[in-house]
Amino acid sequence: MEENKYEGLNLPNYNIPEDIQNVVSVTTIDRLYNWGRRWSVWPLMFGLACCAIEMIAAQASRYDMARFGMEVMRPTPRQADMMLVSGTVTKKMLPSIIRLYNQMPEPKYVVAMGACASSGGPFKEGYNVVAGIDKFLPVDVYIPGCPPTPQALIAGMIKLQEKIDKQSIKKVRWYEKGKVDSNYVPMPILGPDLIDVRRSAEFEAAAVKKEGVA
């Protein structure tokens, strides 16, 4: 992990004379790009359940996420970089979450906060609960806990920053040609139960099989 450690904007091994250190920087495009992004992750202001309260506590004065450039909570998805799924994802809520996600512009990240968002948590067996948001959205960081303490949340956010550091502008999905919507997630349907339309073929097959038996 050592080589992924954040080392600031400057490239290592370049000696900049002391008197101009504040004005001159020797760096790469990637570093500059990620340096700007890592210190200004704007989360979507969006709380689902109990975990959201710890998220607010982490924003408040004692833990103060602003130290990491993450205090600008945006209520609209169009201005947000990061979706913090803070709580139990229910089947009834899922379409709204996916709609929000699809409306977020790239670059966008998803952080699953707490046991519920990661796997369904204590409510996994419930008939209205989705067993983890990763069944639908690509999750970048999982934060364990029920609820994770603000410290844990901040640790997770630092992990996200490390992930940002590792990305290269040449390879990020949002600049790849012809892949503009690479992260678009089709909307699930609230039918007799939650229906993931990406799996329609499977449902079809199951129905045919049952008919065959009958």
Binding site: A49, I53, A60, M93, S96, E125, N128
Partner: protein, 588 residues
Amino acid sequence: MTAPASTLTLDLVSASLVARFPDFVTADARPGFSGFIVKKENLVEVATALRDEFGFDLLSSVTGVDYLAENKMEVVYHAHRTTGGPGLVFKVQAERVDPVEVPSLIDVWAGADFQEREAWDLLGIKFTGHPDLRRILMWEGFEGHPLRKDYKEAFFEEETKPYKSRWPEGNHTYAEFKNPFRDNLNLPENFSLDNYQPQTEDQLYFSLERSSQKHDVGREKEMGDHMVVNMGPHHPSTHGVLRVAVELNGETITSLKPVMGYLHRNHDKIGERNTYLQIMPYTDRLDYFNSMANNFGYAIAVEKLMKIPVAERAEYIRVIMTELSRIQNHLIFIGMLINDMGSMYTPSLYAFEERELILDIFEAVSGARMMCNYFRFGGVVRDVPEDVLRKIKDLVHDRLPAKTDEMERFLNENEVLVARLKGIHVLNAEEATHHSVTGPCLRAAGVPYDLRRADPYSVYDRFDFDVAVRYNGDMYDNYLIRFDEIRQSLRILEQALKQIPGGPINSQKPQYQVRVPAGEAYGRVESPKGELAYYVVSNGKPNPYRYHVRAPSFVNLTAVETMCKGVKIADFVVLLAMLDIVMGEVDR
């Protein structure tokens, strides 16, 4: 009847009720059960008499129990008097045929509205005469009524916990692997996506007033510029995932329907699979601001069933923790209210500062900041060490009173705030009781109904405190009453800290599996949001047969339509904040 209705004791009520309706009211004779069984044809008549002649003006809870083996469904009603005293239970039984039909009590107590809809949604009990019987927690078009005993979830393993796969054999597999779709999915047979027509939300919009008047030709033009707006479920001011469909005439609300269930986490169903003790941590997650108060209600319900005493020291610890929780809740309420009024962040930061100090105490005694899981049947799980007690004393004697003063000084005479809040009507006493509203909103309307006084539980009868009450029922009173309550809580805390005895913290031995005799119990406490109650039915097995949460936030929401009709949309957000709802509790 000679005595005025409100002074009748429960025994007298029973006697005179049976005397009044000898043909269709019988006492519930099952061992461990209490109350009456009313014939369903005469339910409305009996309920009206209970309200008008016996003074039971507040319908606390409506819920259903599915007795599969006896092939019947039971609807259980709990009615209370706002003048105080124990509650009355009455039940209606219906044949378990399709559809199960029971007359609706919405005309007697409007507070039955959402609770009846919930019973329809989860148990499939049809309340005839209910004007708007739609699903409430699940979505329209969902297959099945999940709380029926023959409904199995997709991840169903066994009827009751602990599951054999985990214990004692311990061959744990993923629940996913047992389901044909490897997911939490319960599709009906022969389901095919091609010819499936998803349900629309027409019914919701038809339930708004405009649509019902659509065919009124003369008014069509008049109604023409009405507009329907959906707020939520992702809305920064609805306190979580509540959604409301609002119909507007210009800026004035003409009709409104809350839509909930976006955080429906199936507490009731999961609770019926859990053992008694396993439910305790789940109660934390109902109203996640006040896990201590939630624990309290559930512990009382089960202790009633088990008929065990609570250790003396534990009673005091319970009171101390719950009152601290109430202070913390009301502080957050004030911060969030002002947040909703447009003063973003700063006031709530003040509130959170104090809250952190109280959470530190919770963490010191229970190990968790928010989800304390601290109460046990007969006491609490850990003792409060001397240094933590000292910390609490410091808080209660110095810091919290000073900070409350400071907040009052900053806010209560702030012209903008007063102008915004004063004179905007929330609820009057009649509307509030009729809609089963409890908690600060009821008291701000001039009804001094506080369970700590009205039907004292635990050791609340030993403390000297006043029930906070205000009489105008406007937003300003609703706001000020929170400060009054903080002060009363501080008073209780001071006395409790002085009186707290030494001794054991649990009257029972610590045990994982408690033995609970058959019967029913209704444990209710005054949570910061209102009357929080648990209805637990036991059949003597290690798991409850029925576990139902009567959540104050959920029932209080029944009144939201009455509150908001005719007000400006900008006030709606503040009015909703006044109810102080928490979605974890609304949707459960």
